[in-house]
């Protein structure tokens, strides 16, 4: 059995920052505040923290532990890891899903990352002058090509195409340098930079006061009140609990196939419990302490609750429609606009790098190709996928379809399977024994019951409530309409791409002998 590890982390802090970088993304600064405001303000945090303790941390620790164990058995990609830690060959097919998720997300995440870079560039060069919601929306539509397929493909800096190329090259430059010299080095610089920039913007936002004294109700204080004043009645709403659990789940990047790959580069006596907790808490810090006080309060200080509600509380509305208006109205708006979107770009690139590594490890594990050749294959596959999303930009249909099915079906399924493997197949006693090897802190004993019973039950209920929701034929959601009721060509193509990706991975897996020979 091979235990040779060719690349790996240099320091514990390096792997923690890389995992935290994978987790910190647009969701922390844009999606989280929208959810808090929508679901009961401060009351949402009750459900949010409970979900963190009951879902986020258990899966996180399970993934770190299983990843490290798989790595010690000679595997760095999910199929090999699942096969080796369970000793059952058919579990390697679970690894196919663990590869489809990061690669599938990368196809569209690269495009969103490029929007952030495009906004940062246009603020830096003073090319964004939006005075009304219509102008902000029009800039976004032109940049993303939301009105017509293929319209974003142009070399103008008002279109996203050129920024996609730059982001693509950035990603592959760092990924080609390897784990320690590429991902670790980049995240070790990017994460502290992210912290500094976000604190500068936060201070600016919190000192905005009442920008227009003639409208005293439009103030930062009222913005914070809009987000945080609790409505405990909302806790009776099951959707709030589902939204809190989903946010924790997606925000921490669990069930993503990334942590398990990153952890496979650790050594036997490297701590996983403290490292997992540190990476998770770093994500929570960016989400709650910074994201929770930044975008929505700023928007309300300028447009009031009514104005923001008209624009909308979705991730893209807050980020790309509301905030450009805030920067336009703010003194030194171009500077803060540049800093904010550069912050989002950095957060996005630390995440997108993590999406490439699992597939790279798989190509290397299965084909034994050189690093350079494996990078070329990965570049070809991911560029094709990203181009599909970039070209099919009308109504962001391809992006939206991929996002919906990967997040709601594949990620929840993978996380459920992982926690069941950890708590039931490996066994909670053996699993936690593995987790505590080299650990700097102990997992409290009551987590035995949580990991074995509570987390799987909660995940299964999330999965079932989602399935129940989509099969509610009296009120089908848009994604079901796109596939079965009024079939949409792009939506079906997006699903087709995911299926082709899964079949290709399965085909390569079956051709390769390396997953059984180690």
């Amino acid at each position: 059995m091979s235990t040779k590890i060719k690349d790996g982390w240099n320091t514990r802090l390096g792997v923690i920052l890389a995992v935290a970088g994978s987790a910190v993304g647009l969701g922390n600064f844009l999606r989280f505040p929208g959810l808090v405001a929508e679901y009961g303000g401060g009351a949402f945090m009750v459900a949010y923290f409970i979900s963190f303790l009951l879902i986020g941390l258990p899966i996180c620790w399970a993934e770190w532990t299983m990843g490290r164990k798989g790595g010690l058995l000679g595997f760095n990609s999910a199929p090999g890891i699942f096969h080796s830690i369970t000793n059952k060959e058919h579990f390697k097919y679970l690894g196919v899903i663990a590869l489809m998720i990061p690669v599938g997300i990368y196809f569209y995440y690269l495009i969103i990352e490029s929007w952030c870079l495009a906004y940062a560039f246009n603020y830096f060069t003073g090319n964004i002058n939006v005075n009304t919601a219509e102008e902000a929306s029009s800039f976004f539509q032109e940049l993303t090509g939301i009105t017509k397929n293929g319209s974003a493909i142009s070399f103008s800096t008002k279109h996203v195409f050129i920024f996609v190329i730059i982001s693509l090259l950035c990603n592959f430059y760092f990924i080609s340098k390897g784990i320690s010299k590429g991902i670790e080095k980049f995240c070790s610089i990017a994460m502290p930079t992210l912290l500094i920039i976000s604190i500068i913007i936060l201070i600016r936002v919190l000192t905005l006061g009442t920008p227009n004294p003639e409208i005293p109700e439009n103030s930062i204080q009222n913005g914070l009140g809009f987000m945080w004043n609790p409505s405990f009645e909302a806790l009776k709403n099951p959707s709030l609990w589902l939204a809190a659990a989903s946010q924790i789940f997606f925000s921490l990047s669990v069930g993503f196939g990334v942590i398990i790959t990153y952890a496979s580069y650790l050594k036997e006596d490297d701590d996983v419990i403290l490292s997992g907790l540190t990476a998770a808490s770093t994500n929570e810090f960016f989400e709650v302490s910074i994201g929770g006080m930044m975008s929505i309060p700023a928007a309300i200080a300028f447009f009031g609750v009514t104005g923001l509600t008209q624009i909308g509380l979705s991730t893209f509305n807050i980020g790309f429609n509301a905030l450009p208006l805030v920067f336009d109205a703010m003194p030194l708006g171009d500077l803060f606009g540049f800093l904010f979107f550069f912050l989002l770009f950095l957060a996005a690139i630390t995440s997108s790098l993590s999406m490439l590594q699992p597939a790279l490890a798989f190509i290397k594990d299965t084909t034994q190709l050189s690093h350079k050749k494996a990078i070329s294959i990965l570049f070809f596959i991911t560029t094709l996928g990203a181009y599909f999303v970039l070209f099919n930009s009308k109504d962001l249909k391809a992006l939206d379809t991929l996002d919906y099915w990967i997040n709601n079906l594949l990620m929840v399924f993978l996380a459920t399977a992982q926690i069941l493997i950890f708590g039931w197949h490996i066994g909670i006693k053996k699993g936690l024994e593995d987790a505590h090897k080299g650990s700097k802190i102990k997992i409290p004993k009551f987590y035995n019951l949580i990991i074995k019973y509570v987390t799987p039950l909660l995940l299964i209920s999330i999965l079932f409530s989602w399935v129940w929701g989509i099969f509610n034929l009296h009120k089908p959601n848009q994604y079901i309409i796109d596939l079965f009721i009024e079939p949409n060509f792009i939506a079906w193509n997006s699903i087709g791409i995911l299926i082709i990706l899964g079949l290709t991975i399965t085909f390569c897996l079956n051709l390769s002998k390396s997953h059984t020979s180690k």
Binding site: I5, L13, G42, S180, L224, W228, L274, T282, M293, K440
Partner: protein, 40 residues
């Protein structure tokens, strides 16, 4: 912003900041041997 909102905001921010600070304190003060010492 009402008092309850302020309390929830403060408690949430304090809780995650304290947890993060504690974790980094533990990470930085415990031994951190170079992970790649024994690599090929």
């Amino acid at each position: 912003m009402n008092t309850l909102g302020f309390i929830l905001l403060s408690v949430s921010v304090f809780a995650v900041s304290a947890l993060t600070a504690y974790c980094y304190y533990k990470v930085l003060t415990s031994n951190d041997p170079k992970i790649d010492e024994e690599k090929d």
